[in-house]
């Protein structure tokens, strides 16, 4: 006997679906994309089963289509995220996120003695490893890696 196919998060007519977000980083993605300041309908589900991630999250945002540059900002916290662009309930385009070469103004430098933690300086990092994300601070030259990554 087959189970009836059910969507945990209901479909949207037009907009963007971001899938394969690690469940623990859902709220970081929301923060980075500023979804808390969007007026359109947003639904999300978290702790969904995922073979690859264990627990994943999914976000569906109506009427919003992101520029690549903006969406790549979530690569730090959701490197495997996949985007479906929806128009009239159909997937018209699929995208993956890419860790950019430079990260500006998203992450906090882990070094407590870094100037960016003393004065209102926009943080800047060069991505030295994309797989296990490692960021080299443009200012203090210290490495911030995935484990101690804090999103501003």
């Amino acid at each position: 006997m087959k189970e009836p196919k059910q969507l945990s998060v209901s479909a949207i007519q037009n907009g963007t679906v971001i899938d394969h977000i690690p469940a623990r980083n859902l709220f970081k993605v929301i923060q980075i994309l500023g979804l808390d300041r969007i007026d359109h309908l947003i639904t999300f589900g978290t702790n969904l089963e995922s073979k690859k991630l264990g627990k994943k999250a999914i976000i569906k945002i109506s009427e919003i289509f992101f520029e690549d540059e903006d969406i790549n900002r979530i690569a730090l916290v959701a490197p495997d995220a996949k985007l479906n662009i929806i128009r009239d309930y159909e997937v018209v385009e699929k995208k993956v996120v890419e860790v950019p070469d430079n990260i500006i103004g998203i992450a906090k430098c882990v070094n407590p003695k870094c100037i960016t933690n003393f004065e209102p300086v926009t943080t800047r990092f060069r991505v030295v490893s994309k797989k296990n994300v490692a960021l080299k601070c443009h200012y203090c030259e210290k490495i911030t890696n995935q484990e101690n990554l804090h999103i501003i």
Binding site: C109, N111, K113, C114, I115, T116, F118, E119, V121, C137, H138, Y139, C140, E141, K142, I143
Partner: protein
């Protein structure tokens, strides 16, 4: 156009490094040249560093320039709560070049982005101190006649010592072999060893001085500081292991020279000073020539 600054040794390519060393040689032959006549150099020392400051001021004076600045931030507007941003924007109006020493890491890079005049990093916390690295390179080339294929021994605090890290990174451009002598707690960090491995360079680690020093071209000594140890017992155990004595130099190569960024405490015994292989005080003199070269180079004078 944005002017050129020197914040990190990596800001310079190999040709630029060699050009500065050549220029420093020129100043060694003829140190008094009025190339900075009419120029004002600001020396902003947010933390005291007598040696570096005097060396810079000596370099400026020999070049006929004038100096404004402070030697300790407790006498400046910083003590009134001014931000670095505001200090730099203000001082920028008064001078042709800024030399900055600051305990916060990345402060010199930040200053170089705010200022329209060139900025020289004279040490930003544990991060970079490129003029020290350049004077070390100058001293090595001068005593060895080359930078290629040397065997460099680094001794003492290899974990926190920024001078050894910068020098190691810089020397890796010239096929150097490295020997690291350090207590367990102060070993060269993995990230730097990985860097050498990626460069295909050889390095060896030792926990104390052995006969191996007979292979050294350069012994670069650093201070082992008590406050670096989590366990004071550990410090007591190792503090005398890393002291260089004249008797240990018998089998060393004739071209070998001992360098130390200074100040020294007890890690080089006084009986070494009279050995012609002791080079640390000449090294300090080389700092003046090297800084003359850096100043002129950044100001586009030479």
């Amino acid at each position: 156009m944005k002017s050129r600054s020197l914040v990190s040794i990596d800001d310079l390519n190999t040709d630029e490094i060699l050009k500065i060393l050549d220029l420093a040689e020129e100043f060694e032959r003829d140190p008094v040249q009025k190339l900075l006549e009419g120029k004002v150099i600001a020396t902003l020392f947010f933390e005291p560093s007598t040696r570096t400051r005097l060396s810079f001021e000596s370099a400026v004076n020999r070049l006929g320039g004038k100096i404004v600045g402070f030697a300790d931030s407790s006498y400046s507007s910083v003590s009134k709560g001014e931000t670095l941003n505001d200090t730099i924007l203000t001082v920028n109006n008064y001078c042709d070049l800024i030399v900055i020493r600051h305990p916060i890491e990345g402060s010199a890079r930040y200053a170089s982005e705010i200022a329209t005049v060139p900025v020289i990093n004279a040490g930003d916390g544990a991060n970079q101190h490129p003029t020290q690295t350049l004077l070390d390179l100058f001293s090595i080339r001068k005593t060895q006649g080359t930078l290629d294929h040397l065997n460099i021994f680094m001794v003492g605090d290899l974990k926190y010592g920024r001078t050894v890290h910068s020098l190691m990174m810089a020397m890796s451009r010239w096929n150097t072999t490295f020997n690291f002598i350090a207590p367990e707690e102060l070993k060269m960090p993995d990230e730097f060893k990985l860097y050498l491995e990626n460069m295909g360079l050889k390095y060896y680690e030792h926990s104390d001085f052995t006969d191996i020093v007979s292979k050294a071209d350069i012994i670069y000594m650093t201070r082992v500081q008590k406050e670096r140890f989590s366990d004071p017992m550990e410090y007591e155990k190792v503090k005398n292991v890393y002291v260089l004595r004249n008797s240990m130099l018998k089998e060393t190569k004739p071209n070998m020279r001992i360098l130390h960024p200074l100040p020294r405490v007890n890690e080089i015994h006084k009986d070494v000073d009279s050995n012609p292989k002791a080079y640390y005080f000449e090294q300090a003199l080389n700092g003046v020539y090297t800084r003359q070269a850096i100043l002129c180079s950044l100001l586009g004078i030479k």
